[in-house]
């Protein structure tokens, strides 16, 4: 009977000891959590002041003046080294938080922080993209204004080019951090396709007729030149044939007993040795007869269409 009466007190004690055990198990982790947070906070502050001092000593602000950031910061009470130091501070804090929540094993807060930390490099790259695109756009704007400044639409072209490049940079940055990709990508594709279509139809279509005229000119010139080449070759062959016939001694003339040895002095005045392709009278003779005008007739049997 005393055991039956003694059980509730044993249960309470067991429950109390269970509770104590649970608290004792929990307490080191909580202490570790708080410790990590405090240490991380202190380290973050130290790093912030340290970074700020170093950057100011190195002259980081002077480098930043080159870009367009100085005008953006001029109205705030920060300068570039302050911003970088703040970034370092928050990064260290985030890291400390992740470590601190990690002491309890997997938990939703830890997952959330891991997700944010994994997203940070993408955000960094997106910022870099936007800054670079802005720099390129301003450089191109200066270039175009310098080159076409004299024209009435020079500034308009420069502004258009700059906005186009900045738009490209913004869309690329948004895609990088994964914001609204299903909207920005189709818009970009539509704009580019429109520009391409305008160029193709406007420039290409407008060039069709002048190119037609040019091609006709070139082809006509090629045809006439090839015809000249054909005529030249034909006449060259005819000249060679005639010269051969002229230089060859006449076969049936007894005065040329040494036929077969063509010399250049064969054809002299008065000796009828016509090449078969001429009409009458190879040389000419001094005579008292009146000269007759013989109309040109092709000799029979000759091929005039050689």
């Amino acid at each position: 009977m005393s055991e039956i009466l003694a059980t509730p007190s044993v249960d309470v004690q067991g429950a109390l000891s269970d509770m104590l055990r649970a608290v004792l198990l929990f307490l080191p982790k909580a202490l570790l959590f708080v410790l990590i947070l405090v240490v991380g906070f202190i380290v973050a502050r130290v790093l912030r002041t340290f970074t700020n001092r170093i950057l100011e000593r190195v002259g980081f602000d002077r480098w930043v003046e080159r870009g367009g950031i100085r005008s953006a910061l001029a109205r705030t009470r920060y300068d570039a080294s302050d911003l970088v130091a703040k970034l370092v501070y928050y990064a260290v804090l985030l890291f400390a938080l992740q470590l601190a929540f990690g002491v309890w094993g997997p938990n939703p807060v830890s997952d959330l922080i891991s997700g944010v930390v994994a997203w940070l490099p993408k955000a960094f790259v997106a910022i870099v993209i936007v800054v670079v695109a802005a720099a390129i756009a301003s450089a191109i704007k200066d270039l175009v204004t310098g080159a076409l400044g004299g024209l009435s639409y020079g500034r308009l072209l420069a502004n258009l080019a700059a906005y186009f490049i900045i738009g490209l940079g913004v869309i690329a940055a948004l895609n990088q951090i994964g914001v609204a990709t299903t909207v920005t990508t189709p818009v970009l594709i539509a704009v580019l396709a429109t520009i391409a279509g305008i160029l193709i139809v406007g420039v290409g279509g407008g060039l069709v007729r002048p190119m037609q005229a040019r091609w006709e000119q070139w082809l006509d010139r090629a045809a006439s030149e090839s015809q000249a080449i054909a005529e030249h070759a034909k006449a060259y062959a005819a000249g060679q044939r005639d010269m051969d016939a002229a230089m060859a001694p006449a076969p049936a003339d007894p005065a040329y007993a040494h036929a077969g040895a063509p010399t250049a002095a064969d054809t002299a005045v008065g000796q009828p040795v016509p090449p078969p392709s001429t009409t009458t009278g190879p040389g000419y003779r001094i005579s008292d007869e009146p000269t007759q005008v013989i109309p040109p007739t092709p000799p029979p049997g000759r091929d005039t269409t050689a």
């Binding site: 006449a235 060259y236 005639d242 010269m243 230089m247 092709p298």
Partner: protein
Amino acid sequence: MSTAAPPPWHLSSLRVTSAPGAARRPAARQFLTDLAALLGRGGLAVAAATPGLLAAIDQHAAAIRDTIGDGWRVPGAAALAGYAQGLRDRGAAHLWEVPSADQVHWPTAEWPVLRLVAVCALARQAGIAT
């Protein structure tokens, strides 16, 4: 062949001119101009004073028109230059050179000389070379 003075023909006669470049209008005209300066002008001047020579040159010109033209129209610059170059190159094979006008004894002129003078006459008719 675009020098101021006519080229020495005994040198250039050894060169074969059947390349397409020789057929192009500027090269053909230049050749005919050189030929006229060397032989044609002098020959035609003598022929203007001697009717017999003129008649013979006319007959040669008619024969050339039959050979390389269609018998009625004067042949073009490319055809005339090609014919004259054929004569000259074949003459070089037979060791014959184109003489200059003052070297020719016109009463005993050779057949190729009269042919070349006829080529120059045709070129003058076509307005290609003077």
